[in-house]
């Protein structure tokens, strides 16, 4: 990862103890936030941003670090969501954290299967295989009522959401569940990236022949990348379904959702973990911002919802194209550049 070299001047700006203190303060602020933030902020901004950021980490581990494509992130999210639903429902003795983990593992197995073509082909051809997953699972969860416990509307909602008897269904509870899960998985991802596995994946991405020559097991590493990525997507999907939407169905995880995750990675910056949250914030905030802007200007009568959605599409598309041309490493790289400049100030970085 390039950030190890790039962030060097920035870290020099703050001594280690100061950074630790900052991290602790930030951590406390994040945990205490529900006491101050209102329901709207938690429900409509913070929870979706963090959950989609987590889904972004999943795709980024695959795309940014291992250089493999997926257009089917939402499919693996839906597997996580439906697995978690059935686990919570059918195995009442299974505590919530374990249910999330098992749901993630089930998604990982599916990811492994749809990652098999990566052993023979490269590049965007893989997009087809993951698109296949996208359509297949949307169909599966719509056509087999067993997955939604034969509910008439084919929707799922969390049967229970509690840890050690504490009910997590109010907004602060869901927020803390999301934050805690994401923090743990972020820490895990950071360690995966820095571990031998992460280095192997990056070597594969940069030049797979060279990676094979130095003895990296190409096939098993690629499949592992798909499995890890799908695990993250699965957990994110379960959180998205239960902590954010509350009630969802197979179409909550359609192709547009997959594109959303892809855009998060592209906008946030590939091969950056923190960038995913910047990308997610962009994706979550842009529609809210547009709606508010139109309301503020008093143009709600002129611009209807359909107009805003189309405008949003144009904006997202333009952002992607401009970022790909100007800053292929996304918002995370922009942030790094700003930090580097501040660290070197008043000199030029």
């Amino acid at each position: 990862m390039s950030s190890t070299t790039l962030s060097a001047p920035a870290t020099a700006a703050l001594p280690r103890t100061a950074r630790r203190a900052l991290a602790v303060v930030l951590g406390l602020a994040v945990l205490l936030l529900p006491a101050f933030a209102d329901e709207y902020w938690l429900n409509s901004i913070l929870i979706p941003t963090i959950v989609m950021g987590l889904a972004g980490i999943g795709l980024n581990l695959l795309m940014g670090y291992a250089g493999l494509v997926s257009l089917g992130s939402a499919a693996f999210m839906s597997i996580g969501a439906f697995s978690a639903y059935n686990l919570l429902l059918r195995t009442p003795w299974l505590p919530l954290p374990l249910a999330l983990i098992v749901a993630g593992l089930i998604a990982a197995v599916a990811g492994l299967l749809f990652g098999l073509p990566s052993l023979r082909i490269k590049g965007f051809y893989l997009a087809a295989s993951t698109l296949g997953a996208q359509f297949f699972f949307e169909w599966l969860f719509t056509n087999f009522a067993w997955f939604s416990n034969h509910s008439l509307t084919l929707t799922i909602s969390a049967p229970r959401l509690e840890i050690f008897g504490i009910d997590l269904r109010p907004a602060p509870g869901r927020y803390l569940l999301v934050v805690a899960t994401t923090a743990l998985l972020y820490w895990l991802a950071a360690n995966i990236v820095r571990s031998r596995i992460g280095r192997d994946l990056m070597a594969l991405r940069d030049m797979d022949k060279a990676a094979a020559v130095i003895g990296i097991p190409v096939a098993s590493r690629k499949l592992l990348a798909y499995a890890i990525s799908s695990f993250y997507a699965g957990v994110a999907g379960a959180l998205f379904a239960f902590a954010y939407l509350g009630t969802s169905d197979a179409h909550s995880f359609d192709l547009d959702k997959s594109f959303e995750v892809l855009f998060i990675v592209l906008i946030g910056g590939s091969a950056s973990l923190f960038g995913n949250f910047l990308g997610a914030a962009f994706i979550v905030l842009t529609p809210i911002f547009l709606t508010r802007l139109v309301e503020l200007l008093g143009l709600s009568a002129v611009f209807d919802n359909g107009f805003l959605i189309n405008l949003e599409h144009v904006l997202f598309g333009l952002t992607i194209v401009v970022l790909l041309i100007r800053e292929p490493d996304g918002l995370a790289q922009m942030l790094r550049a700003i930090r580097a400049r501040w660290a070197a100030w008043p000199l030029r970085a």
């Binding site: 250089g67 494509v69 749809f114 098999l116 073509p117 990566s118 052993l119 023979r120 082909i121 490269k122 590049g123 965007f124 051809y125 997009a127 087809a128 295989s129 698109l131 296949g132 359509f135 297949f136 949307e138 169909w139 056509n143 087999f144 797979d208 190409v218 192709l255 594109f259 892809l262 592209l266 359909g306 107009f307 189309n310 405008l311 949003e312 599409h313 144009v314 997202f316 598309g317 333009l318 952002t319 992607i320 194209v321 790909l324 041309i325 292929p328």
Partner: protein, 293 residues
């Protein structure tokens, strides 16, 4: 048996329509190695432009020519603003760029021309014809005639003209082509224009079938398995792939569908394509140059 043949034939004819879209992809892929995800939105944009013009009283051919002009202008703009700055990037980056582009084009199309479903009448009746006991739609036959005509024209252009040979040179080796004086931006403008025109024709045929509306962009997703099965770099492959996907899809819907609670045509082509990727990654007619592991 009669029933089977009817299903097979209607599937094949639907496959011709898939092939129409796939040809647009192949053109751009051959000349620039880009999988143009925006092809579907180009189909929508072209069809919407055409319909909007005819609804304002513009005669058919004038509207057709005006839309062609719009698509060519679009191609020039895309080449200048998107393709040129990304010229030396990886195919994956370009793919992502066309994904972004597809959002821009479909968003713009609907911002400018609305989200209503437009009816499009090309003046060909959709009457079932009875040929040797098989039910065939007149419209489908017309569509396949158009597709075959298009393929013939494109193959002649590719094989016989100076521009076509330049296109193939670029497809073969970009650096070598440039070094003998072929101008890459010109080539790109030409292929994007031509695939814009192909998008218009596909848009008209699809639009006459199911109305000009947002769902037209979805055919890009159908074209992907077609391309994988046929091979990305072959126009003939696009046709055969289209026919294969069309036929297997409708047969699977009839014969496998009832076994698994409902229509399988949404994903069946993809699973077929994944099978191809595993067994024959370059498709039926593709060059062997596809990057393999």
């Amino acid at each position: 048996m009669q029933y089977f043949l009817t299903i097979l034939l209607s599937g094949l004819l639907a496959g011709v329509m898939y092939a129409m879209v796939a040809i647009g992809f192949v053109l751009i892929y051959k000349a620039s190695g880009v999988f143009n995800f925006a092809q579907g939105s180009m189909v929508l944009f072209a069809a919407l432009t055409f319909v909007t013009l005819t609804e304002h009283g513009v005669p058919f051919w004038a509207a057709f020519l005006a839309t062609v002009a719009v698509m060519i202008a679009g191609a020039v703009i895309i080449e200048r603003l998107v393709l040129r700055p990304l010229a030396d990037r990886s195919p994956l980056t370009l793919f992502m760029a066309t994904l972004g582009l597809s959002f821009v084009i479909e968003g713009l199309a609907q911002l400018l021309m609305g989200t209503d479903v437009h009816q499009l009448d090309l003046g060909i009746d959709d009457l079932p014809l009875d040929i040797a006991g098989l039910q065939l739609s007149q419209f489908d036959l017309f569509a396949s005639a158009v597709a075959i005509g298009l393929v013939v024209v494109l193959s002649v252009v590719f094989d016989r003209t100076r521009i076509g040979i330049a296109l193939r040179a670029v497809a073969d080796d970009v650096l070598a082509a440039q070094s003998i004086g072929i101008r890459l931006p010109v080539i790109w403008r030409i292929v994007w224009s031509v695939s814009g025109v192909v998008a218009l024709i596909a848009g008209l045929l699809w639009g006459a079938r199911q109305g000009v509306q947002f769902s037209l962009t979805m055919i890009v997703l159908k074209a992907m398995p077609v391309l994988i099965i046929g091979g990305f770099s072959s126009i003939a492959g696009a046709i055969v792939g289209g026919l294969l996907v069309g036929a297997t899809e409708s047969l699977a819907d009839i014969y496998i569908g009832p076994l698994v609670n409902g229509a399988v045509s949404n994903w069946f082509a993809y699973i077929l394509a994944v099978g191809f990727l595993l067994i024959r990654p370059s498709g039926l007619f593709g060059d062997r140059t596809i990057e393999r592991v």
